[in-house]
Subunit: 199 residues, 2 copies
């Protein structure tokens, strides 16, 4: 397949409908079948019926297929915090922002599950995922400080929010049930409240 | 210095008092002076007045100087959870375990600060540190499940505990004040309670 695609360049000079999505699906399928490390960009492009050149128009490398959405998600989180009603408590602001991000992920549940299985199978990708979440926590804290929340409350709220998100996300990915991620985020937050209030 | 130490082997066949501690201090000093990446094991041993052979009796590589204490700390956390009074609430068990770990770190405050400055300067070490903290959260959750705490409460408590620990640790490392880490952990936890209770 990797040889075929070199002579079979469908994208040369013309627009490919949903090339980015096709590349993502092809990449996720290949990463799951053969392991992230083993797959080449040539193979991903071949599976998607596109060229390497088209791949590199959409992604810097094969890791970016898994993490390319991070910055958009982070912007969404920060914007949600920035635009939240002034009177809201910091933790409510963060939970609402995470639930908004969760609603976006909800539309990609199947892809998100595939992606998580790939990450779980690869320690390097797990590290990258931890860095991503830590960056989200820092960004949330920064957006809270912009709202006038002082330290350490801002950092603590950001970290606690991400703690809630991680647990909710894991339940969402592994859950056989059909509950949505925003609902699981709110539920996990209520559980955190119950856990801390009881002491 | 790296040449000197090859001909000047003080550890050949005899016991070196506090070799591990001397190697750690030498490594931290060199990592700060020149950056973690640039320093070799030969240089660390040379600075400590010891041989490379002695270095490798204590550390697998130069990264382990920074992370060699992780497994002992994790054991301490798990043991503290396991041995906590049966009636204690999960979050109190975790906060007490983290405060116990904090008391151990307290004795090494100066080294911990040096270590953190080195980690902050190096993205790869930051990733490794995030993995360490994520592993602590998982270990805490596992120890809670052993006590009969169900999911997702166990994972949520482990994650929230680490969120509190991170914020407290950062304050401790950067604080000009003289407050101890166990105190800052308890204070951060009280703040988390206040943040979640107010909503």
């Amino acid at each position: 397949m990797s040889v075929t695609v070199i002579t079979y360049d469908r994208s040369m000079g013309r627009w490919e409908p949903n090339a980015r999505g096709r590349l993502e699906q092809a990449a996720l399928a290949l990463y799951r079948e053969r392991g992230f490390e083993q797959v080449t960009v040539t193979e991903i492009a071949g599976r998607a019926g596109l060229t390497e050149r088209t791949f590199f128009r959409h992604y810097a490398d094969k890791r970016e297929v898994l993490f390319g959405g991070s910055s958009a998600l982070q912007e969404l989180l920060v914007r949600a915090v920035t635009e939240a009603p002034e009177a809201s408590a910091p933790i409510d602001v963060v939970v609402a922002a995470l639930a908004a991000a969760g609603a976006q992920l909800e539309e990609r549940r199947d892809l998100a599950r595939q992606r998580q299985a790939i990450i779980d199978a690869n320690p390097e990708l797990q590290e990258r995922e931890l860095v991503k979440l830590a960056t989200f926590a820092t960004a949330l804290a920064g957006a809270l400080r912009e709202r006038g929340v002082s330290e350490p409350a801002a950092s603590l709220t950001g970290q606690a929010g991400i703690a809630v998100f991680r647990v909710a996300f894991e339940r969402w990915v592994n859950d056989i049930g059909q509950r949505g991620l925003p609902e699981l985020i709110r539920e996990s937050f209520d559980e955190l409240k119950a856990l801390t209030a009881g002491t």
